[in-house]
């Protein structure tokens, strides 16, 4: 059993089954919190994928909003209501949005990459705010989706969207883990450390980085699609720099060592945000900031480094 769970696919499937079972016993407010954690966690997972190649996107709000708006418009204007189809469509639209910029951004590193992505997301924000047909700064609502052709009853809507978020994030987490352990995943890590060497070994660093950007965009779009379905409302704030900043916050909190840590970090953010906004309504961002400083001080490589380090020590003993 232990050996079976060491395989990322079976560990992921077991984790999903556990969370689906646990969800049936959770109160509605916590289900919503978990759904949003999973949706936002997928976006942050995309940033972690970029971080492994040595770049951080400060503009994932671009694809988060892109996926969200696409899904809301497909539901409202085209009558597409299936949640699974909409989730996939959100990812595809976001990836298509990222595609024209991928080759350009793949040439930049460090702060230049971060600022360019931030600029792109703020351009979208500006366009959304000024576009009256999309609700301007107020955004617009989206009706509740269906699942596999069935309407979702009010009493079950929270759980069904939670289950969808768990399954989608679980599948993407498994795929991300497979990718991180692949030849391309290892080369991404090498690019982070020594790009010159990778080029002299015959691999194209710009192609790897461009592919990473498009994959991260797909994840951002899927996250946006799940978030809009849970919230039932979308607005330009999805693309604002503070939203992108929260995704980066989760990525730093998680580190780039563990896929699971990204979702844990996302859940921690939602918890801290919920409770601190309830108890410190005017200073909750400060609480978040202090929390991040503590994590950076004591876990500079993120919370994922705790169990990766623990695993390494265990393997060293055996």
């Amino acid at each position: 059993m232990k050996r079976l769970l060491a395989h990322p696919v079976w560990a992921g499937v077991a984790g999903m089954a556990l969370l689906l079972a646990l969800g049936a016993a959770l109160p509605r407010w916590l289900l919503f919190l978990c759904t949003m954690s999973a949706a936002n966690g997928i976006v942050s997972l995309g940033i972690v994928l970029l971080m492994r190649g040595g770049v951080v996107s400060f503009g994932q709000g671009l694809v988060f909003a892109g996926g969200g708006y696409a899904v809301a418009l497909m539901a409202n204007k085209l009558g597409v209501t299936d949640a699974l189809l909409l989730t996939f469509a959100g990812g595809v639209v976001a990836a298509l949005m990222a595609l024209p910029f991928a080759a350009l951004l793949a040439r930049y590193r460090g702060i230049f990459f971060s600022m360019l992505t931030l600029a792109l997301s703020m351009v979208l924000y500006g366009v959304l705010v000024k576009t009256e047909s999309l609700g301007g700064s107020d955004g617009f609502n989206m009706s509740r989706p269906t699942i596999l052709g069935m309407r979702i009853a009010d009493a079950w809507s929270g759980y069904v969207l939670y289950a969808l978020a768990v399954v989608v994030s679980g599948v993407l987490a498994i795929l991300a883990r497979i990718y991180f352990e692949s030849a391309r995943g290892l080369v991404s890590l090498a690019i982070r450390e020594n790009e010159l060497r990778v080029e002299y070994l015959g691999a194209s660093t710009s192609r790897v980085m461009a592919a990473n950007f498009v994959i991260a965009a797909f994840m951002g779009g899927v996250g946006g699609a799940l978030a809009i379905m849970a919230l039932g409302h979308i607005e330009p704030q999805f693309s604002y720099w503070t939203t992108s900043g929260e995704f980066v916050f989760v990525s730093i909190l998680a580190g780039h060592y563990s896929v699971f840590a990204v979702f844990v970090a996302s859940f921690i953010l939602e918890l801290v945000r919920s409770f601190s906004s309830a108890y410190f309504p005017n200073t909750w961002q400060m609480v978040l900031g202090i929390f991040l400083l503590i994590v950076i001080r004591f876990l500079p490589r993120g919370i994922g480094s705790v169990w990766v380090g623990w695993q390494a020590r265990k393997e060293g003993r055996s």
Partner: protein, 248 residues
């Protein structure tokens, strides 16, 4: 004999500095060619032009008869030219084995999104190469923890992963203690023994050049001053005056 590598009239200037001045050379397969010259003589510029890192202002480079002048480092590597660096270019936070697996992955053509980097086949190949370089005992160690000589060997081992036709070694013994230079070169030579590879190495130590080169090319002010067997080139008066500094 058809040369494996040809340079024709290479010129390269950096402002007022002439780094390559009508450099023409033919390298035949199987040769072990040492490039010598004082600092700024144009050796590294020549290596950088051969590997596509620098483009010559004028002149052409042919690899097995194919014009590669306009190609970049990646394309030239894919055509079978590998190199090591004066300062080893490694992934310092990764283990020695992972560095070898990076080299294996990079040379495999299309990088797989799902095929694991740590397959049994690749692990075995990496382990075998590490053993040839005497690095197998370090395979699990982080590169950042390794001494300079071991890093140099790893740099060369990585370059050899995909059985290149031409291997360029940029000062393989620089930064290595005098006692370690010959054992290190012996290790490299033994590791190359079974490979059908042409070697060009930049070197300042004339004892190393004498022992390990089959041909010596001496550079001075961006020009080739002398080219031939070590026992001819190293006694040349101009080479002694401008390169080795042993003229009386």
């Amino acid at each position: 004999m058809t040369p494996i590598l040809s340079a024709r009239g290479l010129n390269k200037r950096f402002g007022a500095v002439v780094a390559a001045d009508h450099v023409s050379i033919d390298i035949v397969a199987g040769e072990h060619v040492s490039l010598i010259g004082s600092n700024g003589a144009g050796k590294t510029t020549f290596v950088n032009m051969i590997t596509g890192y620098l483009k010559p202002d004028r002149g052409e480079i042919f690899l097995e008869g194919r014009d590669v002048t306009a190609l970049g480092p990646r394309q030239i590597t894919q055509l079978g030219v590998a190199r090591s660096f004066q300062i080893p270019q490694l992934c310092a936070e990764m283990s020695v084995l992972d560095n070898m697996l990076v080299a294996a992955a990079c040379g495999d053509g299309a990088l797989s999104f799902w095929r694991p980097a740590h397959t049994r086949d690749k692990l075995d190949r990496a382990a075998a190469l590490l053993e040839r370089f005497g690095l197998h005992l370090h395979s699990r160690r982080r590169v950042a923890e390794l001494p300079g000589g071991v890093r140099k060997l790893l740099d060369i081992a990585m370059a050899l992963t995909h059985r290149p036709k031409i291997l360029l070694l940029d000062e393989p013994t620089s930064g290595v203690s005098a006692d370690e230079k010959f054992p290190m070169m012996d290790t490299v030579t033994a590791a190359l023994g079974s490979e059908d590879v042409t070697v060009l190495f930049v070197e300042h130590d004339m004892d190393i050049v004498t022992r390990y080169a089959s041909r010596v090319v001496a550079f001075y002010s961006g020009r080739i001053l002398a080219d031939g067997a070590p026992d001819q080139v190293l006694v040349d008066e101009e080479v002694k005056r401008y390169v080795t500094g042993s003229a009386h």
